[in-house]
């Protein structure tokens, strides 16, 4: 039964992808890409990847759609020029070669879901066995993300940070950009109902974000998802009440600070463990016992991740919105 559902979702996925690429209207493409993300999140959930599904839903369907729409507000939404024929033929050729390579690799792969596949033999069982011993938290994904591969996650935070300062550097400071233009309408002021409902809901969304943040060790969730959710709540506020109001609550300087301090908190935990006699990001030394130290470490770095992600996503949103005037 679940297989059938899986096949259905997969077919929808392919149909959506085809529609996305063939549609000439960019607005349609972007809305479909949100739908695509939601579908693929559902598939991830069926494949037991709850954390990934939550992230994809928050980031892919939520934030990325908002970004695309914000950018589309600044440009023509119609795709006018069709590529020349030789380009299409060349692309088909390149894609065909790649696909042939992938088809060639398909056989001799372990079967889908085979518990004896090499991937399930070597490192993974060790993690599943040792997470309860080393850090005693139920969510194994959080354990690996925060501790065993904490260095990857540090890198990831800095990727996000790079994107934040990159967008700022390319598009310019939102506050200055806004000042240069005449602000016509701020937000959806004349829509009473959305405003009212939005205002009621925003605290709950933030609350949910905080739950996802601090419950990440016990259930799917963690800093990235929480950051995306909290950022989404504030973006909703900005859409309803206007950019300026949102910037009054958290000004640009605050966002800079949020971005930087989140990244620094994460790296700072690493430096602290170094100074306390451990290796970089060896949380065990933070407290008396290994387990307590690991839990503290993961809690702290997840907080850092959440701060940076929130700060960066809001910064990017403001940077786009200031250009488009919403």
């Amino acid at each position: 039964m679940i297989e059938l559902f899986n096949v259905f979702l997969m077919s929808m996925l392919i149909i959506t992808a085809l529609a996305m690429v063939s549609s000439r209207h960019l607005f349609v493409t972007v809305m479909l890409s949100g739908f695509f993300s939601l579908l693929i999140a559902a598939i991830f959930l069926l494949l037991d990847a709850a954390d990934v599904a939550l992230t994809e839903a928050a980031v892919g369907a939520g934030i990325s759609t908002v970004l695309f729409l914000g950018a589309l507000a600044l440009m023509d939404v119609e795709e006018t020029v069709r590529g020349e024929k030789w380009i299409r033929i060349f692309s088909l050729f390149v894609v065909a070669v790649t696909t042939l390579a992938l088809v060639y690799a398909a056989f001799e792969q372990p079967a889908f879901g085979d518990p004896n596949a090499p991937i399930h033999q070597h490192v993974a069982p060790w993690y599943i066995q040792h997470v309860p011993i080393h850090m005693d938290i139920p969510n194994i994904v959080t354990g690996i993300l925060g501790s065993y591969r904490g260095y990857d996650t540090l890198g990831e935070v800095f990727v996000v940070f790079t994107a934040g300062i990159g967008v700022l550097s390319i598009l310019g400071d939102p506050v200055k950009n806004r000042r240069q233009r005449v602000v016509k309408k701020a937000g959806l002021r004349h829509y009473l109902i959305p405003r009212l409902v939005g205002r009621t809901l925003i605290p709950f969304i933030v609350l949910f974000g905080l739950y996802v943040q601090f419950h990440g060790e016990y259930s799917p969730g963690g800093g990235f998802q929480a950051g995306a959710i909290i950022a989404a709540a504030i973006i909703l506020f900005a859409i309803l009440e206007g950019e300026d109001q949102a910037l009054k609550i958290i000004p640009m300087r605050g966002l800079y600070f949020l971005m930087a301090s989140g990244a620094l908190l994460y790296a700072g935990v690493g430096v602290a463990t170094m100074l306390m006699g451990g290796r970089f990001l060896e949380y065990g030394v933070l407290a008396d016992t290994m387990v307590a130290g690991q839990q503290w470490g993961i809690l702290l770095i997840e907080a850092g991740v959440g701060m940076t992600v929130t700060g960066v996503l809001l910064t990017i949103f403001h940077a786009f919105a200031a250009r488009s005037n919403l």
Binding site: M10, L13, I14, A17, M20, V21, T29, V30, S33, F36, I40, I43, D48, A49, V52, V59, G60, S64, F68, A71, M75, D76, V81, G83, S91, L92, V95, T98, T99, L102, Q109, P110, A111, F112, G113, P115, I119, H120, A124, I128, P138, N139, I140, V141, I144, L145, D152, E156, V159, A163, G166, V167, L171, S219, P220, F224, V309, I316, F320, R323
Partner: protein, 119 residues
């Protein structure tokens, strides 16, 4: 049937093709970015698929007490990272597209190319 057992893999391959084609063949810059994110999503699917274990559950201890078989958590960790990398790339790409639109008045690669030639 070997073919049908691998259907997740085929979906991955088809999505990859669609995205890749869109990146190379489309002349519209936003379309290229959309294709790029499609291309990356396909790879996410590849990783998550290979982590699935038959009869397993999400790797959270004590979430359900029916089984103690867990799907492989490591690919999930990797893909969490990759998703965030993907959105970062998209955001950066979009901001460049916005600037290109402002500088050239178009987001079609051919038009931009023409304007560069004229100069």
């Amino acid at each position: 049937m070997v073919w049908l057992d691998l259907y997740h893999y085929w979906v991955f391959a088809i999505l990859l093709m669609i995205g890749y084609f869109s990146v190379i063949a489309k002349r519209n810059l936003v379309k290229k970015l959309i294709g790029l994110s499609l291309f990356q999503s396909a790879v996410f699917l590849l990783y998550i698929t290979m982590g699935k274990v038959d009869g397993g559950t999400a790797p959270i201890i004590g979430m359900t007490d029916k089984t103690d078989i867990f799907s492989n958590p490591l690919p999930q960790v990797l893909i969490l990272t990759a998703i965030v990398v993907g959105i970062s790339t998209t955001a950066l790409g979009l901001s460049i597209v916005v600037r290109i639109k402002e500088a050239y008045g178009s987001i079609e690669e051919d038009v931009i190319h023409q304007k560069d030639q004229v100069e």
